[in-house]
Symmetry: C2
Subunit: 259 residues, 2 copies
């Protein structure tokens, strides 16, 4: 089987399978992005998380515990208020940690070139920790990741180490990050649409069909302005935002700006 | 010029240039790793940070400020004590944030295949956010990154939002993460050596020559046991550690374990 045929088979297989995540469905904030990618011949998404605030309870050795052994006290993809966290913290008996995790999206790509286009769009949209993986069997995957996190220890052996006022302050920051993350997802969607048009990457199937198929599970909340979308893509502001986080204060022999 | 000759030219050019980082030299904890990579034909490092604890003072809008406008109140690549942070915090008049940032290493690779080998070693050593970038001009870069961070807001408009006891608690965690990061760097070094031998990737120049060259600026602190190095590479513990952070609780249609 040639590579394109094999990719098509993988894609069909993947998209026909049940969603194996805890939640069992794609997060609302990335449904459109996931649909846009899955609707194009060279891409399909294999996992996604739109971004979330989570409260984990580790054992008393904190970071050493395996993630799968941690107890999830709270998970939300929406802005979060102090009372929710205070209630969840009552169940903590180890070292509780509050985290904001931005978008993570894994996209399998037909060819390296397709991954390069998507990677470039992701970086331009502010997802600077994105990167390609090429497997031994030729599977090419792009992981879209942001540098934009938060990880705050809150309790030790069940004892709260901070004040309620601090938690309130912290949640304002976490909610702001959530908002900024949503903006970046919008920007990624718009830039991707623009890039796919430019590269003339055709739909895998008629757009209407996809929309119909997903109508029941998702209603578009916000109408995008296509003009806004295009003008948003390559403004100076974006370019600034796309500067690598790693280029400050670290040992640089030469930092390739145009690699 | 063919690709290999062009790569050699880039490499020679890069390694002959001055270190442009603030610090002006490679961090002690990654000197050996950087030397190992630069001593092999298909690789050279373009930037590195071994891992650090930093205290930043942002403006009062916190996260919105450009990183380059932030004031660095404290930077250390060594374990950190409360008094240092308390002293540095006195200079904060915005929103101070304490961060632990693990190893970040950018390595330019001759070919995609060379990047794949290094990427695989990085993932196996616990650097799960690593990824390849392939530029338009064919430059192939691997960014080695860990998921292993910490980002904690400490003050708001110059006012400390947490207790000294909390800062003490927080620094214990940050120092533990620093220690774990060092172990991962050691593991990466050992696994890389093993992989290079297996792939039969030869030295770019005789090993002794490199060591001699760097003797003046660096003295090896700890003798590695080669047997330990090999046995460390593919233990069950490592495999567990290498499970993707993203595979819990996120929307998964299918997660490719063997891509």
């Amino acid at each position: 089987m040639d590579h394109t045929a094999e990719f098509r088979r993988w894609k069909a297989q993947c998209l026909s399978k049940a969603d194996l995540s805890r939640k069992g469905s794609v997060d609302e904030d990335v449904v459109e992005l996931v649909q846009l990618l899955n609707g194009r011949e060279p891409y399909f998404t294999t996992s996604s998380c739109a971004g979330r605030i989570i409260l984990l309870d580790g054992d008393i050795n904190g970071f050493e515990v395996q993630k799968q052994n941690r107890c999830w006290l709270l998970v939300t993809h929406k802005p979060c208020v102090k009372d929710d966290v205070m209630a969840a913290l009552k169940k903590a008996n180890g070292d509780a940690i509050l985290k904001f995790e931005p978008l993570v999206l894994h996209v399998q790509c037909r060819q390296l070139q397709d991954a390069q286009i998507l990677h470039s769009v992701a970086i331009d949209s502010g997802f600077r920790n994105s990167g390609i993986t090429v497997g031994k069997r030729g599977k090419t995957m792009l992981a879209i990741r942001s540098t934009h996190g938060l990880e705050v220890p809150l309790s030790h052996k069940g004892k709260l180490m901070v004040t309620e006022e601090y938690i309130d302050f912290l949640l304002k920051i976490a909610n702001q990050k959530m908002e900024e993350n949503k903006k970046r997802i919008e920007r990624l969607y718009n830039c991707l649409q623009h890039a796919l048009e430019k590269e003339n990457i055709t739909n895998a199937r008629p757009k209407e069909k996809i929309k119909d198929k997903n109508k029941s599970s998702y209603t578009r909340k916000k109408k995008r302005n296509p003009e806004e979308a295009h003008s948003k893509c390559f403004t100076e502001e974006n370019v600034k935002e796309c500067e690598n986080d790693d280029d400050l204060g670290i040992s640089v022999t030469i930092f390739p700006e145009d690699y």
